[in-house]
């Protein structure tokens, strides 16, 4: 096992634009098959949501998936157990909220996630000012702490956020919670601001829903994160094959010459 930095930098060095689909763990009983399907469709890494009762950075689609997962009894332990049994071949990044890992215990949570093969975490409600204890634990445990830069983040702060982020920087394309939208919003500017101060890869997410948007995002940035558009399909009952097909569509758009 290597670190998220190493894995993603390697891909980037190869000139590859990353595609990072988001899926909610436990949203459906066959959720791990959906991860496999996304990998089969061409994902370079996966963002795996661990459900939280009060997901303040998520829009209705991911909220719904999270509630379904909670209703099904999904916990950090249950997710890690299932993830640990997989061999996906791409790096996993867990996305959840502070209270889930704080309540579990920081060191314990970091250890458990890393053990299950998770290489990074995104805690959207963990601002830079509050990150120190979690970051220290993650750094010690080779777990990347992925931070976000928002359109509202002032330039000097972008530098600090990027410096503290590991693996990649999550560039938020717009001032919004997760959810499909049109275009790239302020994404290009946000990526430029990150580029201006840091060599860390920037992946653009928030509202990236279609192959065209994914291509544009992966062109402007180092990669595209596609969440709600995929989760919507999962909630609507898409089969693993349909998930694979959808992800492949994104992949092909990104890779098209």
């Amino acid at each position: 096992m290597t670190t998220l930095d190493e894995r993603l930098s390697a891909a980037r060095a190869g000139g590859r634009r990353a595609l990072v689909p988001y899926l909610m763990a436990g949203a459906r009983p066959d959720w791990t098959r959906l991860l496999e399907a996304a990998v089969a469709g061409g994902a370079d890494a996966l963002e795996v949501g661990l459900p939280f009762s009060d997901p303040m950075m998520d829009g209705p689609v991911i909220q719904e998936a999270g509630l379904a997962a909670l209703a099904a009894g999904t916990t950090l332990d249950s997710v890690c157990a299932e993830l640990g049994a997989l061999d996906l071949g791409v790096p996993l990044v867990a996305m959840t909220y502070c209270n889930v890992v704080y309540h579990y215990g920081l060191e314990r949570a970091a250890g458990r996630l890393r053990e299950a093969g998770v290489l990074g975490t995104i805690l959207p409600d963990l601002a830079l000012e509050e990150i120190d204890s979690w970051a220290a634990v993650c750094d010690a445990g080779d777990l990347a702490t992925v931070l976000m830069v928002a359109p509202s983040t002032p330039p000097e702060r972008v530098a600090r956020v990027a410096a503290r982020s590991r693996g990649f920087v999550y560039a938020a394309a717009r001032m919004a919670v997760t959810g499909a939208a049109d275009g790239l919003g302020d994404g290009v500017a946000v990526v430029e601001r990150i580029r201006a101060v840091s060599p860390v890869p920037a992946y653009l997410g928030i509202g990236i829903a279609s192959p065209e948007q994914a291509r544009a995002a992966a062109t402007a940035a180092d990669g595209a994160i596609v969440g709600s558009a995929l989760v919507r399909r999962v909630l609507d009952g898409a089969s693993p094959e349909q998930v694979e097909t959808f992800v492949r569509g994104l992949r092909e758009a990104i890779d098209a010459p």
């Binding site: 939280f52 009060d54 829009g59 502070c98 209270n99 889930v100 309540h103 509202s152 919004a176 919670v177």
Partner: protein, 390 residues
């Protein structure tokens, strides 16, 4: 940090507080922190705040000696009458402060969350008074339970957005307001309703509410009572309690916060992170937030302001619980003996005083009861409860 002084640079009260928000909101929180810090140090702003509370909000509210209740309980009970403030509770203090600050920051719009509607009505009120646009997020379940408060907000020119996510109650209204704020921080202020949320809200709201305690301290002095033995207030998020405690934190007065048994974050919660703050929270073994259950909508919150978590941890204040069953007795007791129908929230504090009289409270003890709000909003519910009509 002195007791109930400003929090530290990260917005911490001891181990609690902080600022746990998405990066998109951090700049707005920072802007708010500096705007508030600066405004609160500006005598012109402070004067405008107090003048607005005086000319518009009905301050100072009196401290009423409760002679008949005192006789009944063998205590000397005084009530700080926030029920007489405009819109019927202490909520107006906070919203006037935040609305004035909104204008000072050059923003033209406020958003707010509300549970039963008290903070929503208060926010809509302050917004109307200052000519600000106003949108209030309210759990869809609550919009149906409290349709008259929805209409009140609309009369005041506010837009009410029913929240259909999660449990569709207060907790979700906060989430939704935070989500909305992410999209409009540039021109919109989030007018949070209690001493909760990310720094600087817990501190700022307490400062806007401390007028309760500061007034009461002087008024008890004028009445010849001096510092009371006990200061008691109900606690939902904890703003009325924080406001009144602030006036007595540096005295020997015992501070008692009364939580609803079904929403007792100190009594039954554990440390955790929600709504931008680290505090005591009702949560399950996996850190999922639980819903509070209380007869009174205003105490129906699974958390508590971080400063209260700290006051509890440090022992400066004590937090007790009152069950739904005891609340109606508290409400009727004050109504019949003093001609004041308290809010169900407030009735928790009354019930605690009544229950503690003669044991935890020594005969003749002086008690300052923060009468956080009037019961008019609750009369239909109380009637249904008393008649067993549901």
């Amino acid at each position: 940090m002195s007791v109930m002084g400003a929090p530290d640079g990260r917005g911490r009260f001891g181990e609690f507080g902080g600022r746990f928000v998405p990066e998109a909101l951090v700049p707005a929180c920072l802007e708010l922190e500096s705007a508030f810090t600066e405004a609160w140090a500006d005598p012109a702003f402070v004067a405008e705040f107090h003048q607005t509370l005086r000319l518009f909000g009905g301050r100072p509210t009196p401290v009423t000696p409760l002679a008949r209740l005192s006789e009944r309980l063998g205590l000397r009970v005084y009530a700080k009458r926030e029920d007489l403030a405009h819109t019927g509770s202490h909520k107006i203090n906070n919203v006037v402060g935040q609305a004035l600050l909104t204008r000072r920051m050059g923003k033209g719009r406020v958003i707010a969350e509300t549970g039963a509607g008290q903070h929503g009505v208060a926010t809509a009120t302050a917004a109307a008074r200052l000519g600000l646009d106003c949108t209030v997020f309210m759990g869809e379940v609550d919009t149906r339970r409290q349709e008259l408060n929805v209409f009140r907000m609309e009369l005041l020119g506010a837009k009410v957005v029913p929240v259909t996510t999660g449990s569709r109650t207060l907790k979700d209204a906060v989430n939704e307001a935070l989500r909305e704020w992410v999209t409009c921080v540039a021109d919109t202020h989030y007018c949070l309703g209690s001493v909760m949320g990310p720094h600087p809200f817990p501190w700022m709201v307490r400062e806007f509410q401390r007028v309760i305690g500061d007034e009461a301290r002087a008024q008890l002095e004028d009445l010849g009572v001096g510092v009371p033995d006990v200061v008691v207030a109900c606690v939902g998020g904890g703003s009325n309690a924080a406001g009144v405690f602030a006036g007595f934190a540096d005295t020997r007065a015992r501070l008692v916060g009364v939580e609803a048994a079904g929403g007792s974050a100190i009594g039954h919660g554990a440390p955790g992170i929600l709504h931008g703050m680290r505090s005591m929270l009702l949560q399950d073994e996996f850190g999922q937030i639980e819903e509070a259950q209380s007869i009174s909508a205003g105490l129906d919150y699974p958390g508590i302001g971080p400063e209260h978590a700290h006051l509890a941890a440090s022992g400066r204040a004590q937090y007790v619980e009152i069950s739904d069953d005891e609340v109606l007795d508290g409400l009727t007791l004050l109504s019949e003996t003093e001609g004041i129908i308290p809010a169900l929230e407030t009735a928790h504090a009354v019930a605690w005083v009544a229950g503690a009289a003669g044991n935890e409270l020594a005969p003749g003890a002086t008690v300052l009861l923060n009468l956080s709000g009037r019961g008019d909003k609750d009369v239909a519910q109380v009637r249904a409860l008393m008649r067993g009509g549901g």
